[in-house]
Amino acid sequence: MKIKTLLIFRLLFILTIGLQGCDQSEELSFKDLDTSPGYFVECYLTPGEVYKLSATRISPLSDDYILDYSADFDVTIDSLTLFHSLYSENGSNYIYNFGNAEEFAPAKTTDTVRLQVINAENDTLRSFTTVPDSIQLINATIDDDILQISLTLSERPIHNYYLLKIEFFKQNEETSSDLKFYDLSKTGTDQSELEIGYNLPMETMVKSLKLELFRVTEANYKYQLSLWNAENANDDNLVFPNPLDGNIENGIGIFTCYSKKEFSMEL
């Protein structure tokens, strides 16, 4: 009886006082935190599309973030100058602040494209990228809930990085999507074709798929992976944060080119 009474007391402690603390949190000071995070540049060149790029000063964490495109830079890609203005794509809320109406056409003689950005303090940010070949799809099949995509590999291992976005269209009009990363750069040089596989979810509701296959550079592959990680860290404080990968000298971001193949499949 005595022990029972004590047990009740103990549970009361838990319910009334002890667990209140689980909710406590406090805002920390920004003291001693680096306040010069640097510059961010992002540019995806796509053959046949106009040149567009965004370059911004990274806002220190201690500041309230307001998207600021006012900072001016001298931006050149190879010998082409990009002008400071605001550009957006149809149906997108993303804004570029540098561009040129000329369309990007990869040179036949050299496949390296170079970027130079000079900021107000006369610091120079540099980068270069190669241009991946267009994707040669051989076949795409679905067998036993496994999606198999056969493609011709690039002769250059640094271009054998692929991203596959799959949109699932369900019978009840709902959609969901998934993104997969494939590093095929270590495939033997004697192999010219390869299959990539994807286990479809065991849902009978899916009636069709929309697929977007990207062939990207090694730098872009790592950058996209780090973005995915960073975004998760942003959403969930237990997911490990990582510095963003990229290929911008003296800055953060990516200067790259990719090719893309879109197709649909009925189930």
């Binding site: 007391f9 103990r10 680096d34 990582n242």
Partner: protein, 741 residues
């Protein structure tokens, strides 16, 4: 015709033969009043040359015949004389030498780099939330720290929580990794005696950089049967010890514990939309058995099984489920090969299995499974006089398996294993009555994707005077595993990864002094310096591809140095203990923080601990502990970048926190005071104990972990707030224990 002298020799020889042939083996355990085993007790058969010395678990064995008298002597204890008979006791209690005026015990000195912990000592700490623990006690000692309320690990002299080896009978066992530093990890009821080596490691130990913790059940109890039922704030337990067999020489101990924290959490969560309390649950079972097989052989068995579940609901879209369990098993047998020699054979192994299942923007699942099997043989010659030696071999096979990807979908399965073979030898040489030299050598063969041969010397010089002790030691060790953190904070589901290239090495030089004053005060001080080479870290951690190139271990270097000061005062009814540790740890990797050196996230610069125990009367005991720790470093983003989502045209704008250097923000110091009042009532043969206490008496907001809270106003306005979670504020608790015999 035989001469007189020849007859005499024959008679003497016959008597000697008779004595030795008829002599039986007398064995037992020498303990002090606190039931701590007493090492280095000289046991001498009066009137003969025969003798023996108790080992570090207080055990002794020697040949003696009925009616011979055994003398037990030790500098710090009153001598005991016992006649060998049919009812010779298995436990010999020694009484400490006392100062007649002050009734203060004269305790033998212990070098501060080897800490001996008995369950009685653990009893003198505030029983936090009703949980007693070997590691929680260890974390109150100089040079050994715990990090936060969420972390059950210990950090020894600048090492990480995974740089420690946990043994039972010198065989690796699993760390159950119960969540939070307030829960018990190893139950001192069964594992009632432990030794922690911070430096000056014996030659038989290798495989960890920071410390070796050898725990063992004590093979004796005063009564035939005893037990206790305990009701704490977080869990209840049932514990029992039993003497078995005709001669009652077999001792079994069992402890079972089950949590009910999850039920309280469930009730509270029913009325909450968010900020749900983790419905954490665990259970564990620990047992041991000690039994003599015959006069020469004895057998010890230990087993432990644990199971934990921790669901974490972070938000509407994000949920993590963490599950982990472990099983450990050890068998040890020892054979007496004469009065001063013995052979020990031990074998055992453990399994640690963990799973982390996350539902977030992209579902993620990881699981790890680690098996480790060990085998040891040790031959010891310990006369306790001028020259002792020991040697042996040990073999370890460890198997790792981990998976990452989406549960029931494609992912990467990774399989690794390694073999480790060590041989070792150690000599202890008494240069004079006060000066002892220990020399050891541990040679290893590590085989994973490469083969590495190691040779690790150990040297220790100890000068022991009447009221002071000075020691200096050097030890080199290697480590063959590295933990891979799955989450931002060290968690129970961290994966163990074998080292695939040159193994991390620590060269530690350490020295210290202990002084006693008027037999009431004990002062100790120590200095240590560790040079760390080939230490490992990961350039980045990509949970989508744990087997990828980006997960490559980087090799770096580092150092750890520090000072430890301690003072103890004991004058009945008060005992006071305080210590201070200054520590400075630096690591350097070419691929991290642009090659600049940095403090790892477990570097606590200043640490102060103070504990007072007051025996108010026979029924009431008051204990209080206060601790202060410098803040540790964590990783914070430095800015925010706007990036384009290539895969979502409609909502292409992403705001991403930009991280630069790791460990770029030092948290504020933490401190707290815990108190307990224990009331004991003797109920004929049984005892009722009640511990009423308060955790964090003055409700200090100590940060448990940090996170970034994005506060979004619209598409183009977002603020990232760095925040810290405080998990354990002011918390009263009551624990009831009923002990029965």
């Amino acid at each position: 015709m035989l001469s007189f002298f020849e007859k005499k020799y024959i008679v003497v020889g016959f008597l000697w033969l008779l004595t030795h042939l008829s002599a039986g083996q007398v064995s037992g355990v020498v303990v002090n009043k606190a039931q701590e085993p007493v090492e280095a007790v000289q046991i001498h058969v009066v009137g003969s040359e025969r003798g023996s010395v108790s080992d570090n678990s207080g055990r002794f064995s020697l040949k003696a015949i009925e009616n011979e008298i055994l003398e037990f002597s030790h500098v710090s204890y009153e001598p005991v004389f016992l006649t060998v008979g049919k009812q010779f006791p298995d436990t010999i209690f020694l009484r400490a030498v006392v100062n007649a005026l002050e009734e203060v015990e004269v305790r033998p000195f212990q070098p501060a780099d080897v800490v001996k912990i008995s369950s009685k000592k653990i009893d003198k700490l505030p029983v936090l939330l009703g949980e007693r623990d070997v590691l929680k006690y260890a974390a109150t000692l100089p040079g050994i720290k715990s990090l936060s309320a969420l972390d059950a690990g210990i950090y020894v002299r600048g090492g990480s929580g995974f740089d420690n080896a946990f043994f039972v009978y010198d065989i690796n066992i699993a760390n159950p990794r119960h969540v939070t530093g307030v829960l018990s990890t190893y139950d001192p009821y069964v594992l009632s005696y432990s030794e922690i080596y911070k430096s000056g490691f014996p030659a038989k130990y290798n495989g960890s950089l920071a410390s070796y913790i050898n725990m063992q059940p004590i093979g004796y109890i005063p009564e035939v049967y005893s037990g206790e039922v305990s009701l704490g704030l977080l869990s209840s337990s049932l514990r029992s010890k039993l003497k078995m067999g005709k001669k009652k020489k077999t001792v079994a101990a069992l402890s079972f514990r089950n949590s009910y924290f999850q039920y309280a959490g469930k009730i509270i969560n029913e009325n909450r939309e968010d900020n749900k309390i983790p419905e954490y649950s665990f259970k564990d079972l620990t047992f041991s058995l000690t039994s003599p097989i015959n006069d020469r052989w004895d057998l010890q068995i230990f087993g432990m099984a644990t199971d934990d579940d921790l669901p974490l609901i972070i938000g509407e879209r994000t949920q993590h489920n963490l599950n982990w369990d472990s099983q450990s098993f050890v068998v040890k047998s020892r054979k007496q090969l004469g009065n001063e020699k013995e052979l020990t054979i031990s074998a055992g192994g453990y399994q640690f299995h963990s799973e982390a299942s996350s539902r977030s923007r992209v579902d993620f699942f990881s699981s790890g499974n680690n098996y480790k099997y060990s085998f040891n043989t040790l031959y010891q010659n310990s006369s306790g006089r001028v020259f002792d030696y020991s040697f042996g071999v040990s073999a370890v096979y460890s198997d790792f398996k981990y998976f990452s990807g989406e549960k029931d979908r494609d992912g990467d399965q990774n399989l690794f294993n390694y073999h480790l073979l060590n041989s070792f030898a150690q000599v202890n040489y008494a240069l004079s009555e006060q000066l002892n030299l220990d020399l050891g050598l541990n040679g290893g063969l590590y085989k994973q994707s490469m083969t590495q041969l190691t040779l690790d010397p150990r040297v220790k010089l100890i000068y022991e005077g009447q009221a002071h002790k000075i020691w200096l030691d050097y030890a080199r060790t290697h480590q063959y595993e590295r933990n891979l953190q799955v989450f931002t904070i060290s968690s129970p589901v961290d994966l163990q990864i074998p080292i695939k290239e040159k193994a991390p090495t620590s060269d530690q030089l350490s020295g210290g002094i202990s002084l006693s004053h008027e037999r009431q005060w004990l002062f100790s001080g120590a200095l240590f310096y560790k040079r760390l080479s080939h230490i490992k870290d990961f350039a980045r951690i990509d949970l989508t591809n744990l087997a990828g190139d980006d997960m490559e271990m980087l090799s770096g270097k580092g150092q750890a140095m520090g000072t430890e000061l301690g003072v103890e005062y004991r004058f009945r009814p008060v005992a006071v203990r305080a210590n201070y540790t200054l520590s400075d740890v630096e690591h350097q990797f070419e691929g991290i923080n642009d090659g600049k050196s940095f403090s790892p996230p477990y570097d606590i610069r200043h640490d102060i601990f103070a504990n007072i125990v007051v025996q108010i009367n026979r029924s009431l005991m008051f204990t209080a502990s206060w601790e202060y720790k410098s803040g540790v470093v964590v990783t914070f983003p430095v800015g925010v970048a706007v990036t384009k989502d290539l895969f979502d045209k409609e909502n292409a704008l992403k705001m991403i926190p930009v991280y630069k250097d790791r460990y770029n923000y030092r948290l504020k110091p933490t401190h707290k005071l815990d108190v307990t009042l224990r009331w004991e009532k003797q109920l004929s043969k049984d005892v009722l104990k009640m511990d009423f206490g308060i955790y964090n008496v003055y409700n200090q907001a100590n940060d448990s972990f940090v996170y970034i809270e994005p506060v979004r106003k619209d598409d183009y306005y977002i603020r990232f707030e760095p925040r810290a979670k405080v998990l354990l504020p002011f918390m009263p608790f009551l624990s009831v224990t009923y002990c029965f015999n």
